[in-house]
């Protein structure tokens, strides 16, 4: 019998395949040439210097090396113990502090890992069950802001002189006394919304001391606007976990906002499909949205619809629900350009699941839409089941408009960045010009903050404030649970906390701890709990005060729901939507390099923002000469996003709304409503730190500079988040955009396996039998190997692929005593399972991995060269189905996220090609990477079928962004404060070294050490299930990642891997990956218009040569 050889099934021209970019979809020559190279053009060349310059550099280094020979011995190092060791400090052992990440709607309860009091990593606080160990990417990344090298180190007086914090305190106290006489006439405050009860108390004290003072709050993206439409002080708390049908009207509850972690966790719970029974009852998500968000990507039925038409859709939906419940119609309905069957069937599904269905609406929608949604939820009997209304403690505050009318003579600006993010017509510039005394409290000085710059230009006082990890405060979680904000490091610089500023102005002592303590006592007493000092300590240790959730409330009844008719949109009258960017949020994270370099989950653009346009709109743009590509069925297609020299090149467009214009690169995002243009906020700040600033890399020829454009000019007080009536035209320019969607391309292999609950019930192991896998022995204990349990397969399959000797579990451990003994301890075997059904693509894992594993930031021009370093590549795939294959660009494709990190193959192809034996298997099944042995041949990366290995082309850790190329005499060392963030348990890699996911080996080793120390003479050295949580698993809000010992049948990971939906990537290569995936299930409603019986990915797969749909006989493949 001849040996069967399996090769990657190549999709033929004209056949559908998953695609990440339009170029990939159309298989353009540029894409092909790019994909054929392992490393991007320029990635593997040292471009900024020619040979001559290189030789002179080398000469200099040799000369230096000669000098260096004088010191052959290691440099003398010192050990600096504490003079007196602080309590709870064990050098080398991390201490965790419970605190919370302040938000505007809700604080996120978190634990912060500190090493000798240096905060290094944020984790979720499991004491708060609604979020558990999960945390958002913003909370994860906020730790970098603490160590921002551009933070202000001193306060600055009106005369420009540096002030100590003591001097600032004196001045603030004096200012308070000065203003007290007039009752605070002419005094105004401008702050961001906050959940802190202590701040609310201080605001009340200030209002008591200065009865005439004005307290205004401003945020560019108001998350509570929707709740205010329901009723003052009311908050709607959706309970997605109890829902079977959810309709989201332009609400990106899975992708943004302070409630994202809780919402994702609850949604994932409703989406779990461990058994066919559970799959049948899983939640079905309908989304109507104008942009393409993560929520839309998760939808089972997605309707691209302009935001201005959403209120009309809400009213139509309400009308349908009422009529199907036998009630009277709402009367005359506004015109709506949506298939009536969509609304009818959606309503029918909601009504059929009355009591388990829920409708949510985006906070930016007008009150009319919220009224309709409230009425629908009432009819669906959602309240008390899938929805709660609670009464918050939010105090009313004045608006920016009130501030402009008041024309204060003394203004205190706390946090935020209003000079940047306030609408131009709000008159803040006039307010600043009119005020005689201005106090600005912020983290950044005049060079790095727009508002501080504006205030200092008018001779205001700048107070350097402290980061939340350095200050005392408090807050409320989404459900109202009272949570602390406590310092775990002494302020890095001489700053004053916001709480202290308010206390001083209120005439109280600036004792932030005392203030929080007092608030705690009142909060605890109000709910009848112990308010003693011991209870306070317990609250700080636990991080939550149980029983302090907001009380339930009744929302008022909706009188007569109405909805305005949607404005007619066209090429000449577009709708603009302003949304916080995935990178900088609304601008407050504008100097956070982790977030800036992290690709936007949908557009995959990093380091800048883009103008999102729909394919239909792109088609209408008149471009000369027309860039055309031939699509897979031979038609010419217009494409305005092109790969040029491997880099995404976009046309610059000018968006005009109400006479105000903004220019930026246009990016086609399939799935947008036809006439909606999406602009991402947070970029283009005039004053920002080094990460967000326009950086040109010296010596580099790259002419493209800049991090994004400012979209705020399109905001107005009346329509802060966009409006209809905009026009868009090409400027004729093109720019290169740092986009990673084509990086590490998998070239259309069938990586995505999707099914439906119905198919899952009929053929549970459909995923493992698709493609070539149906022909092969299964990697780990399924299919033909079903008789071999996972626990056995994991320790008996041949492993390791090194050219050298490698540990093999078939041989007893290399310890003399154990040689030939049957009772030798068996090493545990680590593995991972990722549930694609619950993954929403939120990027929390990517950020957590970056923080935990000291992954460097490389900068925009390095990303353009394809040298991004993140270990987890969160791929976003589009499927458009066969029926749409002939269309130009599909308007509403299905989206699937696939997070790929090192798969820890048993037969790792990287190992066989390493000439230095730097990457080998260990006895626990990890594909290890010994950095100190790596010589940088990059053969391993060439041979990795998953493309997950990352190479340090330059000294990303030891040089600062923009100074990578400055030769041996260039400045070295990372910015001083950033060193403090590094995880001391993970090596900081140097230039010329390959790296990749290690399965957080430092956490595994730590757990093993603890298990061994604990075991003593008992010999029970096994690590318990759950004792090792890898960083991505811990952060994942959806709980999609399981990790642990796969030989322990009772472990969570073994149970997850035992799921019939389990399949591996590229298993036909017989690499036997340790990471497996659980196939995604789509839950379509067959009665909906446009519903496809199978996921589009399946239809595509079915058409591929050599790839068969699930065999009907369900048995052994064929």
């Amino acid at each position: 019998m001849s040996k069967r050889v399996f090769v990657h099934p190549e999709p033929k021209a004209g056949e559908p395949a998953p695609w990440r970019s339009l170029e990939e979809r159309n298989k353009s020559p540029e894409f092909r040439s790019r994909a054929e190279r392992e490393f991007l053009d320029g990635a593997a060349t040292f471009d900024p210097v020619d040979r001559r310059a290189f030789l002179s550099l080398m000469g200099a280094s040799f000369a230096l090396a000669g000098l260096g020979l004088a010191g052959c011995r290691e440099p003398r190092q010192h050990t600096l113990p504490y003079a007196r060791t602080p309590e709870m400090t064990l050098p080398g052992v991390p201490t965790f502090f419970a605190t919370s990440f302040p938000g505007e709607l809700a604080n996120q309860p978190i634990l912060v890992e500190t090493h000798s009091r240096r905060p290094t990593k944020v984790e979720g606080n499991p004491s708060h069950p609604a979020s558990g160990t999960a945390s958002s990417k913003l909370a994860q990344a906020s730790i970098l802001d603490l160590y921002d090298p551009d933070r202000a180190t001193v306060s600055v007086g009106p005369d420009g002189a540096a002030l100590t914090s003591a001097q600032v305190r004196d001045r603030l106290a004096a200012l308070g006394r000065e203003l007290e006489a007039a009752g605070g006439a002419g005094l105004a405050f401008l702050a961001r919304p906050s959940t802190s009860p202590t701040r609310a108390r201080l605001v009340a004290a200030i209002k008591a001391r200065f009865p005439k003072a004005l307290w205004a709050e401003h945020t560019p993206v108001d998350q509570s606007a929707g709740d205010r439409a329901v009723g003052p002080g009311i908050r709607a708390l959706p309970n997605f976990a109890a829902a079977k049908r959810v309709v989201s009207l332009d609400a990106d509850f899975l992708g943004s906002g302070d409630a994202q972690v809780e919402a994702t966790r609850a949604y994932a719970a409703a989406r779990r499909a461990d058994t066919a029974e559970q799959a049948k009852g899983m939640v079905r998500l309908y989304v109507a949205e104008s942009l393409h968000t993560l929520t839309g990507a998760a939808a089972d039925h997605r309707l691209p619809l302009a935001t201005s038409a959403i209120p009309a859709l809400a009213l139509h939906l309400l009308d349908q629900v009422r009529r199907q419940l036998g009630q009277a119609s709402v009367g005359e309905l506004p015109k709506l350009d949506v298939d009536p069957a969509w609304v009818r069937e959606c309503a029918a599904d909601l009504v059929a699941n009355r009591g388990a269905s829920l409708v949510v609406a985006g906070a930016h929608l007008p009150a009319a839409a919220h009224g309709c949604v409230q009425a629908i939820n009432d009819l669906l009997e959602a309240v008390g089941r899938t929805l709660e209304y609670v009464r918050t403690d939010a105090a009313p505050a004045a608006s920016l408009r009130d501030l402009a009318l008041a024309r204060p003579s003394a203004l205190v600006i706390l946090g935020g960045n209003p000079a940047y993010d306030a609408p131009a017509d709000a008159g803040l510039a006039d307010v600043l010009a009119a005020a005689k005394t201005i106090v600005r409290v912020g983290l950044h000085g005049a060079e790095h903050d727009d508002t501080t710059a504006a205030v200092r230009a008018r001779g205001g006082l700048f107070v350097a404030s402290t980061h939340y990890l350095e200050s005392w405060s408090d807050g409320r979680a989404l459900d109202g649970t009272y949570v602390p904000v406590q310092p775990m490091i002494a302020p890095l610089y001489d700053g004053v906390a916001e709480t202290e500023v308010l206390a001083l102005l209120a005439g109280q002592s600036a004792d932030a701890l005392g203030l929080v303590r007092a608030t705690f006592e009142s909060v605890a007493r109000a709910v009848g709990r112990d308010a003693s000092a011991a209870a306070f300590e317990a609250w700080l240790a636990e991080g939550v005060l149980p029983g302090t959730a907001f009380p339930r409330a009744l929302a008022g009844t909706v009188s007569t729901p109405v909805a305005p008719a949607a404005p007619a949109l066209s090429r000449a009258s577009l709708e603009v939507r302003l949304v916080p960017s995935a990178h900088a949020g609304d601008g407050l994270f504008g100097n956070n390099a982790w977030l800036l370099e992290q690709p936007d989950p949908m557009s995959k653009t990093c380091w800048e923002n883009v103008v999102l346009v729909s394919p239909a709109l792109a088609k209408e743009l008149e471009i000369e000469p027309e860039p055309m590509v031939i699509n897979r069925i031979g038609q010419l297609n217009r494409n305005i996003n092109q790969l040029v020299d491997g880099k995404l090149t976009c046309r610059v467009v000018r968006v005009t709304l109400g006479g105000r214009t903004v220019e930026g690169p246009a990016f086609i995002l399939p799935g947008l409503a036809k006439w909606t243009v999406g602009l991402q906020l947070g970029f283009g700040r005039k004053a920002v730190g080094r990460a967000g600033a326009r950086v040109t890399e010296r010596l580099s020829e790259n002419r493209i500079v800049g991090v994004g454009f400012d979209a705020y000019p399109l905001a107005t007080s009346a329509a802060p988040l966009g409006a209809a009536g905009a026009t868009l035209e090409l400027t004729g320019e093109t720019v290169v955009v740092a986009n990673t969607q084509d990086h590490w391309s998998m070239e259309g292999r069938d990586l995505i396996r999707e099914g439906t609950p119905g198919e899952f019930a009929k053929n549970p192991t459909f995923a493992a039998r698709l493609g070539l896998d149906g022909h092969l022995p299964s990697p780990l204990g399924t299919g033909k190997d079903a008789a071999t349990p996972l626990a056995v397969a994991a320790v008996t399959t041949p492993r390791g692929n090194s050219a050298y000797e490698h540990p093999d579990h078939a041989v007893p451990p290399n310890v003399a005593v154990w040689q030939g003994r049957a009772d030798a301890p068996v090493p545990q075997q680590w593995g991972m399972s990722i549930d694609l059904n619950t993954c929403t693509g939120c990027n929390a894992c990517v950020t957590a991995c970056q923080a935990e594993n000291n992954i460097p930031v490389v900068g925009r021009s390095q990303v353009l060269k394809g040298r991004d370093m993140r270990w987890i590549r969160l791929d976003r795939y589009f499927f458009d189905g066969r029926e749409q294959a002939g269309m130009d660009i599909p308007e509403n494709p299905q989206v699937t996220f696939l997070g790929v990190a090192c798969q820890h193959c048993e037969n790792a192809p990287c190992e066989s090609v390493c000439p230095a034996n730097a990457t080998v298997h260990d006895e626990e099944g990890l594909n290890t990477m010994a950095y100190n042995r790596c010589i940088g041949t990059r053969y391993c990366a060439n041979n990795c079928p998953y493309k997950v290995r990352r190479f340090n082309y330059l000294d990303y850790n030891d040089r600062q962004i923009g100074r990578f190329y400055e030769g041996p005499l260039g400045p070295k060392g990372m910015a001083e404060p950033l060193k403090m963030q590094k995880n001391p348990d993970v090596s900081v890699r140097m230039r010329g070294v390959m790296e990749k996911c290690t399965y957080c080996v430092q956490r595994i080793q730590e757990a093993k050490i603890q298990a061994k120390v604990r075991a003593g003479a008992s010999g029970d050295t096994k690590v318990r299930d759950g004792a090792v949580q890898v960083a991505c698993q811990q952060a994942c809000p959806a709980g999609a990642i399981e990790f642990g010992d796969i030989t322990d049948a009772g472990s969570r990971v073994a149970k997850a891997k035992a799921s019939p939906r389990t399949y591996g990537l590229l298993t036909y290569l017989n690499v036997r990956p340790r990471t497996t995936y659980q196939a995604k299930l789509r839950n379509p409603n067959p009665r909906m218009p446009g519903a496809s019986a199978a996921p589009l990915s399946r239809l595509e797969l079915a058409g591929r040569e050599g790839v068969h749909p699930a065999p009907a006989h369900g048995g052994k493949g064929h």
Partner: protein, 231 residues
């Protein structure tokens, strides 16, 4: 040889074989010379460029001439009186100044040699002790798991209780680590003898027997893959 070579080159052309008789042996001699110098070079690098030569014996002067031999050997202080965290933390901490002052606020409280200690205690500034035992930054050595599972301080640090000035006695190279990780039974001892640096098994056979039983009963399986120490 050079002279003969010059003579050879200067002489007029000869008929027949142009090479003199001595040239027959020249290639072999050259090869032997190269092989010998190569071997010498390798041997020299092997010795002089290794931890064995570079690090063993490194005995820096400390800001305070703390005599381990006296405190530990003569007075009999347990290692863990000062190195308190060795069983709990990967780091075996150098004691804080406050630990010194526990005794020296009473004993020898005016000694000029202890001035840096008193200064540190008064100002809170740390004493700048010089680090003696170092492993590279990419090596993670956890003290806790070693001392709590029968590996004595003496295995890596030598007889500190006999050192007036502490110096490095073992190479702490990777092969030094691996020797023990492959043959733990040669080094293991009862856990209550871990800080008793003078303890020795009565005989090598007794050590092997005791060590093997320890390995078996405690399920000792030291890691030998990269991931054990390099993260």
């Amino acid at each position: 040889m050079l002279r003969r070579l010059l003579d050879f080159l200067n002489q007029p052309a000869r008929r027949g074989n142009p090479f003199p008789r001595w040239s027959n042996a020249a290639p072999a001699k050259i090869l032997a010379f190269l092989a010998l110098s190569g071997a010498l070079l390798v041997a020299a690098i092997n010795h002089y460029a290794t931890n064995e030569y570079l690090n063993v014996g490194y005995t820096p002067d400390q800001p305070v001439a703390f005599d381990h031999g006296f405190h530990s050997g003569v007075l009999g202080l347990d290692c863990r009186y000062c190195h308190t965290n060795v069983e709990k933390s990967p780091h075996s901490n150098v004691p804080s100044t406050a630990t010194c002052m526990n005794c020296h606020s009473v004993v020898k409280k005016d000694s000029p040699a202890l001035q840096p200690i008193r200064d540190s205690f008064a100002t809170g500034e740390p004493v700048r002790w010089v680090k003696v035992h170092k492993v590279p930054d990419y090596v993670y050595f956890p003290h806790s798991v070693h001392v709590s599972r029968g590996i004595s301080c003496v295995e890596c640090h030598g007889r500190v209780d006999q050192m007036e000035v502490v110096g490095q006695r073992k190479s702490l190279s990777m092969s030094f680590c691996l020797d023990c990780h492959r043959n733990p039974e040669k080094a293991l001892r009862p856990v209550d003898k871990v800080t008793d640096l003078a303890w020795k098994a009565p005989s090598p056979e007794a050590q092997r027997e005791m060590g093997s039983k320890f390995v078996h009963d405690w399920k000792v399986l030291p890691p030998q893959s990269c991931s054990g120490c390099h993260r």
